[in-house]
């Protein structure tokens, strides 16, 4: 029952994030502007995927497309947020992962879960988030981290991609597990996603209460 509720809770959470991002659009500048588009694209594709799931159709093509767009937008965001030389590392690894993801569509198939792409994406976003934490800690202006919107967003992304890494890597194996076990594991992923969205929600909310310059 709880797991079934989580399956509905994730699209609702993404929808809430979309609404908040739209009303906070003016305050989301610099790398946060790219994050705004990430939320919006995720919102549209999650809605599409959710619709397909409700009508019991294969939604893996949408999920695979979401992964690639997610990779592009988050790479762009970290390229804007970080400074050299980390910026170059992000740009090169992000681009390489995207090319790999496109090629993988052909290897794993468009209507199969692209576990390799998602696993690679998780590893590199995990590294990007660590780079960003390093940058935050090196800032000469020592504002408390809780007041910086990007701290919350970065934390949300770290939680989501770090905790989801094993699930994404072994995603296809989960499909072969007994239905109840598979549902339990996906439910756990949904729970982590909702937890991460809570962090992202706080981050976007902070853009409304903090001056724009503090986001970077």
């Amino acid at each position: 029952m709880l797991i079934r509720a989580l399956f509905h809770l994730v699209p609702v959470s993404v929808f809430v994030l979309c609404v908040l991002a739209v009303v906070s659009r003016r305050q989301m500048r610099g790398e946060l502007a790219v994050f705004f588009w990430y939320i919006l694209v995720s919102g549209v594709l999650t809605a599409l995927s959710y619709g397909l799931w409700l009508t019991q159709q294969n939604n893996l093509l949408v999920i695979n497309l979401n992964s690639l767009l997610e990779l592009v937008l988050l790479t762009c965001m970290y390229v804007m947020a970080l400074e050299k030389p980390a910026r170059w590392v992000v740009l090169v690894t992000g681009s390489a992962a995207f090319i790999f993801g496109v090629l993988n569509l052909g290897i794993q198939g468009m209507e199969q879960f692209n576990s390799h792409t998602k696993a690679v994406e998780s590893v590199i976003i995990f590294i990007f988030t660590v780079f960003y934490f390093r940058k935050l800690l090196m800032l000469p202006d020592k504002k408390p981290l809780r007041t910086i919107p990007m701290f919350w967003i970065n934390s949300g992304l770290l939680i989501y991609f770090a905790a989801g890494l094993f699930l994404f890597a072994l995603g296809n194996s989960v499909i072969n597990l007994p239905n109840a076990v598979s549902r339990f594991i996906w439910g756990m992923d949904m729970l982590i996603a909702v937890f991460a969205y809570a962090f992202i929600f706080i981050g976007i909310w902070k853009t409304r209460t903090t001056r724009p310059s503090t986001s970077s």
């Binding site: 934490f133 020592k142 408390p144 809780r146 770090a162 890494l165 699930l167 194996s173 992923d189």
Partner: protein, 259 residues
């Protein structure tokens, strides 16, 4: 067999996900705690800087007041008293020779006070010569070794006055308080800076634990006012070492524009 494989994947997923979640939370907590600690360290540093600044200001005020009191005492006790005696003797007009002697002594006192305020030779003879004169006087009482090297050009007047006063304060501390019988002094140019080194073999003090006195704070204050840096080392019973490095160029004078 297949069931066992499924169980392995299931366990791997649970453990892996939990472990990665813990790592992620650990990274976030580390960042928060580390930054909190850094903010604490920065605040502590700023407090120390403010405290040091306050001490310097207090010492400057104290030194100025001490200087005023000393001048007032010199004028009252020596010049005033001598003039009073002279007036009394003039009324009696008994010993003209004593009048002359008293007038000479009073003149010497006035010269000394004037010299202490601003040595006239500093402007005409230059810092190196004035310092050499001072050490010649000190040499009468204790052993002094000096190494005063020539500078390519004259220092800005404010630097010369600062170095003069710093040197006098250092000598005064050594002679009055430390019981030193040997002083070494060096003044030389180094990479466009003026370097002053001073040591004595006096009683010293525990520099780590003893709070700096007004004299040392005043010295530090004068060095800082010239844009320089200073350090001193001392341990109880092992003498005193002081080194200051002052930029050779004159400090920038800020002019206020009148609207």
């Amino acid at each position: 067999m297949e069931n066992q494989d499924n169980q392995t994947i299931y366990l791997l997923l649970i453990i892996g996900t939990e472990a990665m979640l813990l790592i992620a939370i650990g990274i976030i907590l580390f960042a928060v705690v580390y930054q909190k600690r850094m903010i604490g360290v920065n605040e502590e540093k700023q407090k120390l800087v403010l405290k040091h600044q306050r001490n310097l200001n207090e010492s400057m005020i104290r030194t100025t007041e001490q200087e005023r009191r000393r001048i007032a005492a010199d004028l009252h006790d020596e010049v005033g008293h001598a003039l009073l005696t002279l007036r009394l003797q003039l009324y009696q007009d008994t010993q003209p020779e004593k009048h002359r002697q008293l007038i000479d002594e009073t003149l010497q006192t006035v010269r000394r006070i004037s010299y202490d305020l601003y040595p006239p030779g500093l402007e005409t003879l230059g810092l190196e010569n004035v310092l050499a004169d001072i050490f010649d006087t000190v040499r009468k009482n204790i052993h002094v070794e000096t190494d005063i090297r020539p500078f390519p050009t004259r220092h800005p007047p404010e630097t010369e006055v600062a170095v003069f006063r710093i040197t006098k304060e250092l000598i005064s501390n050594s002679v009055r308080y430390s019981g030193a019988d040997t002083i070494t002094f060096a003044l030389y140019p180094e990479n466009n800076d003026l370097v002053l080194e001073f040591t004595d073999n006096g009683s010293g003090f525990d520099a780590e634990n003893v709070q700096k006195g007004a004299g040392l704070l005043s010295i530090e204050n004068r060095v800082q006012a010239q844009g320089g840096v200073s350090e001193f080392k001392s341990t109880a019973g092992n003498g005193f070492y002081f080194r200051a490095r002052i930029p050779f160029t004159a400090p920038v004078t800020v002019q206020t524009k009148m609207a």
